[in-house]
């Protein structure tokens, strides 16, 4: 008899986590996800205060609601974690991601790439006679769409930062 694996509908959630900027904190967090079998779709981190004492980590994860709740509780249990905000449930929020996209080609494909970049407000940040590097910023689905178009026009490589997110309105997370 095959093993039954519990299934519940998976949801995508964006978590903003502020932490003490101390050695090992990133390993604690990523290790927690590995050890307990949670998913990380993307993770970004940088320190955000003048004295470099606090970092903000944005984690995109997915799982059933009960698992998302556990992820938040387990994160809050870590001593260096100040606060976990689930942007997905907290209300309207902005998500942005930056990508660098290298496209190589000549002739009509090259012209078309440049034209599409203009439509997507992607900026060429490096140019040779046969290639561009585009910089694009936006919500992840916009970045996805642009990359999909470039695939037909000579896509060479992609670098993405992962998502940073923030609540709309005057309130902080």
């Amino acid at each position: 008899m095959p093993m039954k694996i519990a299934e519940a509908a998976s949801e995508r959630h964006v978590l903003a986590v502020t932490v003490d900027n101390e050695p090992g904190i990133l390993a604690k967090i990523t290790g927690l996800f590995t050890a307990r079998g949670y998913n990380i779709d993307s993770l970004t981190v940088a320190d955000i205060t003048e004295d470099h004492a606090v970092s903000r980590i944005t984690i995109v994860t997915n799982g059933p609601p009960s698992v998302i709740d556990q992820i938040e509780a387990q994160l809050e249990r870590l001593v260096p974690v100040h606060k976990v905000t689930d942007l997905t449930t907290a209300g309207p929020h902005v998500e942005r991601e930056l990508a660098l996209i290298k496209v190589a080609g000549v002739g009509e494909k090259r012209v078309e790439a440049l034209r599409l970049a203009d439509i997507f407000r992607a900026r060429p940040v490096d140019t040779t006679t046969e290639s561009f590097i585009f910089e694009i910023t936006g919500p992840p689905d916009k970045v996805d769409s642009f990359i999909a178009l470039m695939r037909e026009l000579g896509l060479v490589e992609v670098g993405r930062t992962g998502i940073v997110g923030m609540m709309r309105g005057a309130q902080g997370a």
Partner: protein
């Protein structure tokens, strides 16, 4: 970042990192350090030399140090302190650290580390202690600057002992132990946003809980190790709340002693080897109040059949324990003792509902006498039944309110079933991690914390060999601990599962080539006693009690006795195996895959 340092000789009043550490431990009220010296902690050991304020207990293996610290912590309520060297010293202590993590035992572990300049170079006795202990500690630190040491020690003790207790590791490179800092920094990262466990529950949760209990027709209190960890006052409050509500009480393995086993509303332990009445009452209750327990798989059995018709209240200091495996109707975040106090106050002068019908049903389940075991073994009719041995041990010692430790396996469950506990902090066992080899070092730690108490490690002949080297530690410190081995020449719980699941194919579960435990005792300067027949049982126990020093009792018991009742893995509370049921055969792969 590194503060300027200078050799100690330049300024005789200045303190080295090692001296700051020892001062820090004394400030925290540490009486005992359980440890083993080595290259990377020599400066600390030199600092301890001749210092009368802290007693260092030299174990025989670092695993023993960690378990002894756990035993001390559980018996006294104070944090256990461990001191080990880098590399193998730290890795040997890991099992005890992981054990303390699973059972929420307050512990501070000081590990030596190679000098900062050598970290990452695969230096001699280097291990990434911080990396290795990251997921079995509540928090850990690598102290690279002696100026941070004093504040780190303070925070480590705070974290280990408050909130949900747990182990904290402080890894100190050798050069940091030697260096003399010119300043001492308060931790830059202090503040309530960093670590502030909530102990008092919101009033509206308390009112809702009291209302649910007052309306209940079939209430039950399901208590756990959190009540013990909250301090003896929490056990007293639990008894008070039970008294005014009348609810019957069951407990996890870790929670035994919080509620007296002689009380008429005590149901016994619940779960895999719990009593029939406790598990049936859990299944049929209408309001379950879980107090400081965590719905462990050994407790719930099959999750989709766990107490299907009850409203559940869960009181826990750890938010991540609430709704982890069992969704509850009301989660109450707070310290067990504090919340119990709040609930008693909110209950006020209410009259408890008449629970007569519920108690009558429970009496019906009790009448099954699920702990009544066969008088004689089939395989060895002349031999002592292990359950009988535990019953007699209890009968002959309970007036002395002994502290009982155990190893892990059948003997542990028989001890939990047949040795009744009246008070908290008297029962020390490895619950979550299930660590064989826990009992002897834990008994050593408990005996140091309570020098006048009777401390008995109820052991199996297989488990006891896992930290047998600690016999020497007890000899050295003149600790009169008693080891009572239920010797059935099998890793009995493994053998029992092989009978249940693998048609009695006893793969590697026979304890071959056993030592002569009596001679082994004598080799370490202990007294050794062997009990082979039932008529020698009481006399053997009395001789053990009468001997002022440490004793091993090798009590030979029936080899085929199994630990029942039992909820087989993957089964529901209502599907218990009882004495007389057929317990051999096989299982489908799904059940086999469950632990």
């Amino acid at each position: 970042m590194t503060a300027p340092t200078s050799p100690a000789s330049d300024n005789p009043t200045a303190m080295s990192g090692a001296a700051i550490l020892v001062e820090g431990l004394i400030e925290q009220g540490v009486e005992f350090v359980f440890g083993y010296p080595g290259g990377a902690v020599l400066p600390i050991y030199d600092e301890l030399f001749g210092d009368e304020r802290i007693r260092h207990i030299l174990v025989r293996h670092e695993a023993g140090a960690a378990h002894a610290a756990e035993g001390y912590a559980r018996a006294t309520g104070k944090p256990g302190v461990v001191l080990v060297t880098s590399g193998p010293g730290a890795t040997n202590a890991i099992t005890g650290i992981a054990d303390a993590w699973m059972d929420s035992i307050p512990m501070v572990v000081i590990t030596g580390q190679v000098p900062t300049a050598l970290i990452g170079t695969d230096a001699f006795q280097e291990a990434d202690t911080i990396g290795i202990t990251r997921h079995c500690t509540k928090h850990n630190y690598l102290v690279k600057d002696p100026a941070d040491l004093a504040a780190t020690i303070k925070e480590a003790f705070l974290i280990a002992t408050t909130g949900r207790p747990g182990p904290v590791v402080i890894d100190i490179p050798k050069n940091v132990q030697i260096a003399v800092p010119s300043e001492r920094r308060a931790l830059v990262r202090a503040g309530a946003h960093r670590y502030a466990p909530q102990t008092v529950a919101p009033a509206e949760h308390i009112i809702e809980a009291v209302e649910m209990i007052a309306q209940a027709e079939r209430p039950i209190f399901y208590t756990g190790g959190g009540v013990i960890n909250s301090g003896p006052e929490a056990s007293a409050l639990l008894r008070r709340l039970q008294d005014i509500t009348g609810a019957p009480v069951t407990s996890t393995l870790m929670g035994l002693g919080a509620f007296p086993s002689t009380h008429p509303d005590w149901l016994g332990m619940l779960g895999m080897h719990g009593t029939y009445e406790a598990n049936m009452a859990m299944n049929k209750c209408d309001v379950m109040v879980c107090i400081g327990a965590r719905f462990d798989d050994r407790v719930t059995g099959r999750l989709d059949a766990f107490s299907p018709d009850s409203k559940k209240i869960h009181i826990d200091i750890d938010r991540s324990s609430i709704n982890k495996t069992v969704p509850v109707d009301l989660g109450i975040l707070g310290d067990c003792g504090t919340v119990l106090g709040q609930m008693i106050e909110a209950w006020g002068s209410r009259q408890a509902k008449n629970l007569g019908e519920w108690k009558a049903r429970i009496a019906g389940w009790r009448a099954r006498e699920c702990l009544a075991y066969p008088e004689r073994s089939t395989k060895n009719p002349g031999m002592i039944m292990p359950q009988k041995a535990v019953e007699r041990l209890h009968a002959l010692t309970h007036q002395r309110k002994p502290i009982i430790t155990t190893e892990v396996g059948q003997h542990q469950m028989w001890a939990a079933q047949y040795f009744g506990f009246e008070d908290p902090n008297k029962w020390l066992t490895s619950g979550g991690l299930g660590t064989m080899g826990y009992g002897l070092p834990a008994a050593i730690g408990a005996q140091l914390g309570h020098p006048d108490a009777l401390v008995i490690d109820i052991a199996g002949e297989a488990s006891i060999q896992m930290n047998i080297q600690e016999l020497g530690t007890a000899s050295q410190y003149r600790l009169p601990v008693k080891i009572f081995i239920l010797n059935n020449e099998y890793m009995g719980m493994v053998r029992q599962w092989q009978e249940l699941t693998y048609e009695s194919r006893y793969s590697n579960s026979y304890s071959d080539s056993l030592p002569d435990f009596v001679k082994l005792a004598e080799a370490y300067g202990w007294k050794g006693i062997r009990i082979t027949e039932e008529r020698e049982l009481d006399d053997g126990i009395m001789r053990m009690l009468d001997h002022p020093g440490p004793v091993i009792v090798d009590c030979l018991v029936a080899q085929d006795a199994n630990c029942l009742p039992m909820i087989p893995s993957g089964a529901a509370h209502t599907d218990m195996l009882l004495y007389g049921d057929k317990v051999d055969g096989t299982m489908d792969d799904e059940a086999k895959a469950l632990v």
